[in-house]
């Protein structure tokens, strides 16, 4: 796929651009292509429907070249990480109701899906995992919890996320894992970096 078909490039400040893309998978593909090309940029931030190029050394060249970027499909060849999960989240019943199914079926669907980390955000090492179909998207909680424990596994929109550290949060919690997601002394410091394949397994 050529990026030219999706061109919506917006200037951001003095030396950054925001590129609109149709979905998180394309954002990941743009991020990976940028890394392959070695574009001289301080930060590249893929997100749900955009990619931010922040601190671009040669902005004119990037804006000129972007339409000719030949995007490979977002990698399905990244490292596979299993996330042992105890499905006892406080919102599991609500998710089952929203999905119009049973909690057992929620667990079966969630463990039967291969996810890919499309991007990270919200907190260091917090992965936005894609893989569930859009029809299973769920709204965030109307009022966020003041304290969500580290390791909580939750759903918001079409994404599955895992809280790397204790924080406030509005995702619908379906379970928890003991997997450590964030260790600053390690390289990379995040366990689930963009492009990583993820399988949730019953702990």
């Amino acid at each position: 796929m050529w990026l030219t078909v999706l061109m919506d490039i917006r200037r951001v400040g003095r030396d950054s651009v925001l590129v609109a893309v149709p979905d998180a998978a394309t954002a990941l593909a743009v991020f990976e292509e940028c890394r392959r090309r070695g574009t001289d940029v301080a930060d590249v931030v893929p997100a749900a429907e955009t990619v931010l190029f922040d601190g671009v050394r040669d902005l004119e060249a990037l804006v000129h070249d972007l339409p000719s970027w030949d995007l490979r499909p977002a990698s399905r060849t990244g490292e596979l990480v299993e996330v042992p999960t105890t499905y006892d989240g406080g919102d599991l019943d609500d998710v089952a109701a929203l999905w119009e199914t049973t909690t057992d079926e929620v667990v079966a669907t969630h463990t039967g899906t291969e996810f890919v980390v499309a991007f990270c955000g919200f907190a260091p090492g917090f992965p936005y995992c894609t893989g569930l179909p859009d029809r299973l998207a769920v709204p965030r909680l109307d009022s966020p919890r003041a304290k969500v424990p580290a390791g909580a596994v939750g759903l918001a929109g079409p994404f599955t996320g895992i809280y790397p550290s204790t924080s406030p949060g509005g995702w619908r919690l379906i379970g928890r894992t003991d997997l450590r997601l964030w260790e600053p002394d390690r390289d990379p410091p995040a366990t689930l970096v963009p492009g990583t394949r993820v399988r949730f397994v019953v702990a």
């Binding site: 917006r10 951001v12 400040g13 950054s16 997100a47 429907e49 955000g121 919200f122 260091p124």
Partner: protein
């Protein structure tokens, strides 16, 4: 080991350098000194490389006692500086004897003072930076009374005092804006209001953002914006309509539209605005 003891940490004092850009894709904020020119000046005055870590204070100042004689310089927010109770110069290299107390007084103009120390503060870097990130809790914790900070070996000679020229602190502060990326989410009267009136700095301001109070901006469209990457200086407009300018500890992504971005040359002013002071925006 040469070291510096924090005898009185003040309300919020942190170690800061030029931050840790390059990790935003993992959700790690950039962090770093909010008033970069002042931090750079502090380093220059004591003969450090610009990448050395300095101390950043917030309104209340800090007291420090070195284990060995050291050269220091205080820049940024204006304040009284004393060594062993005797007044010494602001924004010039001064020598602190071993065991003497350097007192950086409360800010008399501006918010954040910087203390450069010859050799730099050499706490363990995290992801390539010694900066304290108050949002993501990356890097060293904020300073507490009694902390002992390691110092590096001085590399350069202290500069002459004549290199430090006073900066104007214009009031109201004028921040130049680059419009976009989401200016199209707001109606024309709101955009005119943003650049046509003054906003007051809110007490809720911190290292994450300069929060402003004034005429509310109204959106020209309904709906939610999917979270997208944020840059330093982004002027985000949450549902309240009150704009905020993201500073160095900003989150890497955000879900409210960014109407404009403050020019990098004006960001130091955002670091030095006190609650209640006025800000005006102009289109760059």
């Amino acid at each position: 080991m040469r070291s510096l003891t924090v005898t009185e940490a003040g309300p919020l004092s942190t170690v800061q350098d030029r931050g840790r850009p390059g990790w935003a894709h993992l959700g790690v904020p950039r962090s770093g000194a909010l008033d970069r020119p002042a931090a750079d000046l502090a380093n220059r005055l004591v003969g450090n490389d610009g990448s050395a870590a300095v101390l950043e204070t917030t309104l209340g100042g800090i007291s420090l006692t070195p284990s060995e004689p050291v050269t220091v310089a205080v820049t940024g927010a204006e304040c009284a500086v004393t060594i062993g109770g005797s007044a010494v110069g602001y924004a010039e290299p001064v020598r602190v004897p071993a065991g003497a107390t350097l007192r950086v007084g409360p800010a008399t103009r501006g918010v954040r003072s910087y203390v450069g120390v010859a050799g730099g503060i050499t706490v363990e870097p995290v992801l390539g930076s010694r900066s304290t990130d108050t949002l993501a809790q990356v890097g060293p914790p904020r300073l507490r009374d009694g902390d002992v900070l390691p110092l590096g070996d001085p590399v350069g000679a202290p500069a002459g005092v004549d290199v430090a020229s006073a900066r104007p602190f214009p009031r109201p502060a004028l921040l130049r804006l680059h419009p976009g990326p989401r200016a199209d989410w707001f109606d024309a009267p709101s955009l005119a209001t943003l650049t046509g009136t003054s906003y007051a700095v809110s007490r809720e301001s911190n290292r994450v953002g300069l929060r402003l109070e004034g005429p509310a901006m109204t959106r020209s469209r309904e709906g939610e914006l999917p979270s997208e990457g944020l840059v330093l200086g982004a002027v985000q407009v949450p549902p309240s309509g009150q704009p905020l300018v993201f500073l160095h500890d900003h989150p890497t992504t955000g879900g409210y539209p960014v109407v404009a971005v403050v020019d990098p040359d004006d960001l130091w002013l955002c670091a030095q605005l006190r609650p209640g002071e006025l800000v005006r925006f102009s289109r760059r």
